[in-house]
């Protein structure tokens, strides 16, 4: 399967988690609860980012000539997400934890939209179809899908 379809599928379920967290973060009563809620999202978002980095972005960088700005911007957003999740893991104040959690979910949503608008269409345009399919096979194997 095309790797972009797999990654869009990942966005789909992560959006549902983001919707839920946007509603509940302001109501959380303890730092540990904010951290636990976000730990589940972080496991999904950060593994998703790594696969994009290692499979799509590396492939795109080899094919693009003078259009590296989009990829650099996407990598910077991944780094911002990592840094926000890390700061949340070490937060000790409830207000700070809520603010960091809200920033993480907002940044994840913004990043997914940017990928859907810019990065994924760029990959569809720049990478040959057989490469997108091979990357999809690698994605499926890395995710542990049955039959991959």
């Amino acid at each position: 399967m095309n790797i972009i379809d797999g990654l869009l599928g990942e966005h789909g379920v992560l959006y549902a988690e983001i919707d839920y967290l946007e509603g509940t973060i302001p109501e959380e009563k303890a730092v540990a609860d904010v951290q636990a809620s976000l730990a589940f999202l972080a496991a999904g978002v950060q593994s998703h980012s790594r696969l994009e980095d290692e499979l799509v972005f590396v492939s795109l960088e080899r094919h693009l000539d003078g259009e590296q700005g989009v990829i650099q911007s996407m990598r910077r957003m991944h780094a911002d997400l990592d840094a926000t999740f890390e700061r949340l893991r070490t937060a000790t104040d409830l207000g700070v934890a809520r603010d960091l959690a809200s920033s993480a979910v907002a940044l994840a949503r913004e990043h997914f939209s940017a990928e859907e608008e810019l990065c994924f269409p760029l990959a569809e345009d720049a990478l040959p179809q057989d490469q997108l399919l091979r990357l999809g096979d690698t994605w499926a194997a890395r995710r542990g899908l049955a039959g991959a």
Partner: protein, 163 residues
């Protein structure tokens, strides 16, 4: 998205496989984290997990399984089995919510994780393969468009030169 650069179409089976992909990583995270979590932290994690898992099950039920009913039959063992597993997952999530002791909550949550993993593998090996073979591509794409709309994923992806 398939051969021919049709960037507007998304096959429902592939998008649901995509959802499994990231959920597997989150199941791995839970298995590792559960032994260290307090009851409150477990309950905070289970709520996010429940939103992801139950919204995924609802989309499968309402989109893919209904499309398979005319092909396999409403009472087919494959569909009944998968729907029963969705109900089992719902019941185990409820049991986890009701747990008051840490070991009880940890055990219940590990049970949900194991059941979800088995369920995903079962779907990938049987029902998704059947859907790919038996549901016409056009129908799978239409269902993929509905999935994208329900999930809020951008369906119409603009070509870079149009941006």
């Amino acid at each position: 998205m398939r051969d021919g650069g049709d960037v507007e179409s998304m096959d429902i089976v592939e998008t649901l496989l995509g959802e499994h992909g990231v959920l597997y990583a989150q199941l791995d995270h839970l298995e590792e984290a559960i032994p260290q979590l307090s009851v409150n932290a477990l309950k905070a994690e289970i709520e996010v997990f429940a939103v992801a898992l139950q919204s995924h099950s609802a989309l499968e039920d309402e989109l893919l399984f209904i499309a398979l009913e005319p092909i396999l039959g409403v009472g087919s063992p494959e569909l009944l089995g998968m729907r029963m597993m969705h109900e089992d997952i719902d019941r185990q999530i409820e049991a986890c919510r009701a747990a008051t002791e840490v070991t009880q909550a940890q055990g219940q949550l590990l049970g949900v994780v194991e059941l979800a993993r088995q369920h995903f593998m079962g779907e990938e090996q049987t029902l998704f393969a059947t859907a790919k073979k038996m549901i016409p591509q056009e129908t799978r794409d239409a269902l993929g468009a509905t999935w994208a709309s329900r999930r809020g994923v951008m369906r119409l992806m603009l070509a870079p030169e149009d941006l």
